[in-house]
Symmetry: C2
Amino acid sequence: MRNITREELKRASVPQLKTLCDVLREEILNTVAVCGGHLSSNLGAVELTVALHRVFSFPQDKIVFDVGHQCYTHKLLSGRAERFSTLRREGGLSGFPKRTESEYDCYDTGHAGTSLSAALGIAKARDLKGENYEVIAFIGDGSFNNGLIYEALNSLRILNTRILIVLNDNGMSISPTVGGTHDILNEMKGEALPSEDVRLFERYGLAYMGVYNGNDLGETIAALEQAKEKLRETSVLLHVVTRKGQGHPFCESAPLETHGVNGESAHDAESAEYSAALGEELCSLARTDSRIVAVTAAMTDSLGLRRFFDEYPARAFDVGICEEHASVLCASLASAGMKPYYAIYSTFLQRAFDEIVHDVCGQNLPVTFCIDRAGITGRDGETHQGVFDLSYLSFIPNLAVAIPKDIGELRAMLRMSVDYPAPLAIRYPREGHEGVIPTIEIGKFEILHSTTSDIIVLAAGERCISLAEKVRLRLSAQGKDLTLVNARFLKPLDEELLASRREKYVLTIEDNALCGGLGDAVSRFYRNSGKEIYCFGYDDAFIPHGDVCSLAAEHGVSEEKILAAIEALYARG
Amino acid sequence: MRNITREELKRASVPQLKTLCDVLREEILNTVAVCGGHLSSNLGAVELTVALHRVFSFPQDKIVFDVGHQCYTHKLLSGRAERFSTLRREGGLSGFPKRTESEYDCYDTGHAGTSLSAALGIAKARDLKGENYEVIAFIGDGSFNNGLIYEALNSLRILNTRILIVLNDNGMSISPTVGGTHDILNEMKGEALPSEDVRLFERYGLAYMGVYNGNDLGETIAALEQAKEKLRETSVLLHVVTRKGQGHPFCESAPLETHGVNGESAHDAESAEYSAALGEELCSLARTDSRIVAVTAAMTDSLGLRRFFDEYPARAFDVGICEEHASVLCASLASAGMKPYYAIYSTFLQRAFDEIVHDVCGQNLPVTFCIDRAGITGRDGETHQGVFDLSYLSFIPNLAVAIPKDIGELRAMLRMSVDYPAPLAIRYPREGHEGVIPTIEIGKFEILHSTTSDIIVLAAGERCISLAEKVRLRLSAQGKDLTLVNARFLKPLDEELLASRREKYVLTIEDNALCGGLGDAVSRFYRNSGKEIYCFGYDDAFIPHGDVCSLAAEHGVSEEKILAAIEALYARG
């Protein structure tokens, strides 16, 4: 679609804007069908975002989108409509707000709960600089569970500034929103608004306004105008109810399934999801072991836990988007004799770093972290790449860190984990191949291909082992050889195997930042050994959105680079 | 004092228990005077803890102390009175709850906000195992600001279990407690309890009981008995008001100054506090630069920011124990043109890891982290050592990490930071020496002692440089020499200097875990260079409480070890 100017938006009649909403919805649907992305949340937020652009003046006014996945209409209305077909493609528009992309994006988001704090900081800077504009935090009810929100609410009065919080309440946080806060918001949706709920927000320094039907454009514009007026005196919470997937029958009926959509891509027909194996194994293990419980932070389905939740409802906990609480819950369940499995995406586990260190590992408790979407994840970009987990886990005492080479090995590691008496992290990508189920011993590598060559390659994880194997076959065709090892434990390292190797040249390959990962660990072990070590992993940069393989190559890990390095070694003789 | 048995406690009359409180208070005062520790919070909690031991049956019943610093009376009443004089001494009792120390300590704490989550996990495990005991979370009003608390509250109904929350409200969180939640709690203390506040907790699934005078033993016992009764049906929040420092006139009037007490120790008469320099420099810089703001999470005084808060109240923000929110606030203030300085202890910054990665560094915003109490801190033990910061900061793109060699260098780094346009972390210990104020260039080391020897020592931070210098002088007396470098930036490394050095032997010394710190970074730079690298830092373990120097030596960093390593190199010729 063509770019819409601010003037056009301000001039249009409400019926014209309704037509615009239809066009926007169509554009989002068509683009997401091709590029993938967040569908139902964006469909639900079309009218609300159009109304915001009608009532406020961006980019002078500032809007912070919590998580940021629901910003598509905002992008379409801020001069990016003509580039919208590049959404989530390498070099194209990001699926999240990006300061570097547009002056209309004032603050980058990606993880839940930061919008209120960010809006407060921007508003406070405005006040201190004597500037004059409005600051809006646009937040879903799912994020409203996150602890950061309460930390920000708690400091509203301390900071003594004014922001508008638009609470986009669609009842979902990928999984349906859960918990006490959600219940409170739900009660507020009732006809007779309980005065104590309004008072709750007032105590924090917020005028509460609601509830509005956020898919009714006229009503929403009127509510926002009223809120803008009130904002002269006080911070305002505008509680808007929208329908996730609005305007698309399938999305409305299946908001969970249409939260994230893959779009067109060249899928490997043989590939399967690691998450499905996680769910199957946990169900099977739980049948004979009553200590096993599963914990998730609002991601039951995408982590493969649906069946476990159905079969073992009393032992399955979705605590909402509360990654820290989930970690402490696991630690304490373990402290009292249970065997918790905490399934989470690599990037989101960053939130629980302190709790991994102190609650789980400090007490040496047998919690198993099932870390999905590890490594480069692709189109969601910087805030969703799982390329730091090996770095932030490698130095935590008591923690074992495992990297399965395929889905069969994930199964084996899970089976091993049941009797493993200490903290264990298993990190794996979204997709891979099934493979056989081996017997796994903690801290033991596997030799995949053994030769008398002077080159040994230590590769971790399916993607890297597959690259290494391709390199090996290409070299083999040239009559050159190498020994290939599945370095399936970052910690403990297989020191016995490492100590026994006689190769002069050691290569490491990992789907993680170079700094702090397998390469550093192997280098530390071989320090002053006389061996030459060459490490492949990602360079010291935030990796933007794009395709997994080309991003990996661009940031340091590719068949060609590894091949070239080995050929250079052979050339030296 | 002698150990008190459970039977004695259960049998005693209230007047006898009051006498016991006097004895306990005396014991705490005398012990803290010698061993140091948390004084006023423990004095305030004596009656409440005695009442808990009277009404509940530990260790069958479980109690989780939030932060854990207020557990002294609990320790004295659980068979540890006779060892209490070893408090915080190496090999003695920990100043925090420790599962490994006593079966009465069911969950280790140290950082704020974990107690509700932990109590919920223990209670849920109890339910799943069909056991029968009570679980209590003992929490101060300061911790009640932390986001984790709301994440736990939000899942109370989801988890469908019962816990007792004892809210020990003394109005302090080291600094006075601040924010909206505190205001709500304060209103509750009024005569006419607003019903909406009670409803607030009920919505989350908690029966609210309060307010009780927690320093009145009889009243507190009665309230706890009532709470225990109610606990049969529902989770309960018992709101108890205590007086921090109760029973000691100076502590009552100066709870902030007596929160942490140093005890007897051999203080270096010439040593000063880095925090004082931070405060002075920020005040001085703020005078001519209106962009400068300071942010703290409830630690204004111990971080040296009191004067800044007094002189620039509009540009100084204490947001309570909300480390994550403080980070996002800094990022957003910076995004809108301010220059934020976030002062925090090394160990507490772990909480904000995700926000450092995405909000600050992902957006490449000029936030300066002033990281105090870095390295081994000593008597507070595992949860308070600052030995992981170099590891968890080293791999974050865009972040510079500086390690001043003395207080003068901290001043220089702060002056440099004003125009530094990107994220910067400066980490330093509590105490050190003033030194001169040099000119600092980002990423440039300083050669402290230059020789033609084949040994170069790269030391980071005052403690390590001082060790290295002592070793150098001892070797010098033997006619042996070494080049000594102040490796004041972990990132960016001074690659120009490193590349220019011709020494065969490189030693690194750092006050941090070996994994992920300076040694690994230097090793990465010198990979395959033919140099021999020897790294001194802490081994892969949680470091317990004790004296800084002996802990450092025991875990890998001592004059003797470094000397021995260099002598071994000389012996090889």
